[in-house]
């Protein structure tokens, strides 16, 4: 049985949750790393470990208990509900840009979105290299186009950290390619996750990256579509892809 590690999967209605469920359906043993303990019972059959993946020591401890890894999916991230302290806080109101965020905002958001990916990839690499496998990271359309001033529910530091995830993906693709480990990335636009619902409660028809009616496909994406794409990047369907970021945004930004 193959083993997959998925970070940020415990919250129901999240992309990570759906990825964990689908990888399990593919016949894999799924290990979930997340802070959100209440969600663990929604993933029966997964091995859920409470872990702050923005903490290098905690990540090393969690991975030390694993014997083998074939797939790593880094879904953890966001601009809010990303630390033990604000895990149930809901979205912050107002625009959070690079010029008005606190230094603490910057390091917290960078920690959850970029450092976490670095720590998990580093910890998983020795086991992935043994037999080959796949890493999929989750970036964002925000990395491509930034967050427009005034938009609520996302942040400038998030856009920058997610651009870092694309660069990390490329670098690791070079370092791990000869071991048969492919490293790819998806960059979702606005996806109908539990988080989006919380933002839309106060923002009306404005998504975290701007007005929803500006999306050419005329709708937001589904968690199922996004998870299906991530799973495809874990399988042999994408056997010759590495270092690539696949944009999934309803034609709202073509790179």
């Amino acid at each position: 049985m193959k083993t997959a590690v998925v970070t940020g999967a415990a919250k129901p209605e999240s992309i990570g949750h759906e990825v964990a469920v689908r990888l399990q359906k593919e016949g894999m043993q799924v290990v979930v790393l997340d802070l959100y303990e209440e969600g663990f019972s929604s993933l029966p059959g997964c091995r859920c470990i409470k872990c702050d993946v923005s903490d290098a020591t905690a990540v090393e401890r969690a991975f030390a208990s694993l014997k083998e890894i074939h797939v790593l999916v880094n879904c953890v991230g966001g601009s809010w509900e990303i630390t033990q302290k604000d895990l149930r806080a809901g979205p912050r109101r107002g625009f959070l840009g690079l010029t008005n965020c606190s230094l603490e905002d910057w390091s917290t958001i960078r920690g959850a979105n970029l450092d976490s990916v670095f720590y998990c990839c580093r910890a998983a690499a020795p086991l992935l290299k043994k037999q080959g496998g796949a890493i999929v990271n989750v970036s964002s359309v925000a990395a491509r186009k930034g967050i427009p001033p005034g938009a609520e529910g996302s942040s400038g530091p998030y856009a920058v950290a997610k651009a870092g995830v694309m660069g990390l993906t490329r670098q690791l693709a070079l370092e791990l390619g000869s071991f048969g480990v492919r490293v790819n990335c998806v960059a979702p636009g606005v996806i109908a996750s539990g988080r989006l619902k919380k933002v839309l409660r106060f923002s009306g028809d404005k998504g975290p990256e701007g007005p929803l009616k500006q999306i050419p496909m005329g709708r937001v994406g589904t968690v199922a579509e996004t998870a299906a794409l991530i799973v495809a990047l874990c399988t042999d369907d994408t056997s010759y892809m590495t270092g690539v970021t696949v944009d999934i945004n309803g034609a709202s930004y073509a790179a």
Partner: protein
């Protein structure tokens, strides 16, 4: 597990007689897709058509409206009715080697074909409010190429622009439009011609420079087509997906 959303659908695949197109047909058929395979070069189960001609594209449309259109037809040397599988060149195609006739023929084979097929079928897909279009670009358009010639690279660059534009135009109708940009894919035709192999050592060094340390196979591309036509491609549109073993990462 099979990909969701493929079984029972209909696909039109051009350039289907050999190589990447043939592999796509097999893969989609294995997923339960009813495939209409077309090519200018005859073959088993192939509907022969010259897709640089609007009247022949129109004739194809009489066979029904597909759910998926996969525009594979093309290549750095344009086929004709009398020579449907022209020999690939031995050396690199340089600017001064390409005359106006070749320029026009290669643009037609790679770019006009996709335009005509989209123009014929998009209105029918719009009426249904659904559809998937997968076009074929190339690494030659993404990073440039010293091998395939400026006509081919320019045509494939045109494919990327056509893809982005149609994604905007057809998005409101629930139609996704994407492109795949393959890197070095060892199709039987390329293998037989030995194209680009100045020496065995140089070819080994070329493959060694690819992060995945190998040439691509037609199946590697077919998997990505299947992905884009499946549930996984439902919200992907306007994208050009690089499938090249890590040789080039895109913009």
């Amino acid at each position: 597990m099979p990909l969701e959303g493929l079984r029972g659908r209909k696909a039109l695949v051009s350039g289907a007689t050999s190589g990447i197109g043939e592999s796509i047909c097999k893969r989609l058929a294995a997923e339960g897709v009813d495939v209409l395979a077309t090519d200018i070069h005859p073959g088993a189960g192939i509907v022969v058509a010259d897709l640089t001609r609007a009247d022949e594209v129109e004739k194809l449309a009489a066979r029904g409206t597909p759910d998926f259109i996969v525009n594979v037809a093309g290549g750095p040397v344009a086929p004709t009715r009398s020579e449907t599988l022209p020999a690939l060149p031995q050396g690199n195609l340089l600017l001064e080697d390409i005359d106006e006739r070749q320029w026009s023929a290669v643009i037609a084979a790679n770019l006009t074909t996709a335009y005509l097929v989209c123009r014929e079928f998009a209105p029918r897909m719009k009426a249904r409010k659904s559809g998937r279009i997968v076009n074929f670009a190339s690494i030659a358009a993404r990073r440039g190429s010293d091998r395939v010639g400026v006509h081919y690279a320019a045509a494939k660059g045109g494919i990327i622009a056509l893809t982005k534009t149609l994604a905007l135009e057809l998005g409101p109708f629930g139609i996704t439009v994407n492109a795949i940009a393959p890197g070095f894919i060892a199709t039987p035709r390329i293998e037989q011609s030995g194209w680009g192999r100045t020496s065995p050592e140089a070819h080994r060094a070329f493959l060694e420079a690819i992060p995945l340390k190998r040439a691509g196979r037609p199946d590697d591309i077919a998997g990505v087509v299947a992905m884009l036509c499946s549930e996984a491609g439902g919200y992907v549109s306007g994208a050009t997906i690089d499938v090249n073993g890590g040789l080039y990462f895109g913009p």
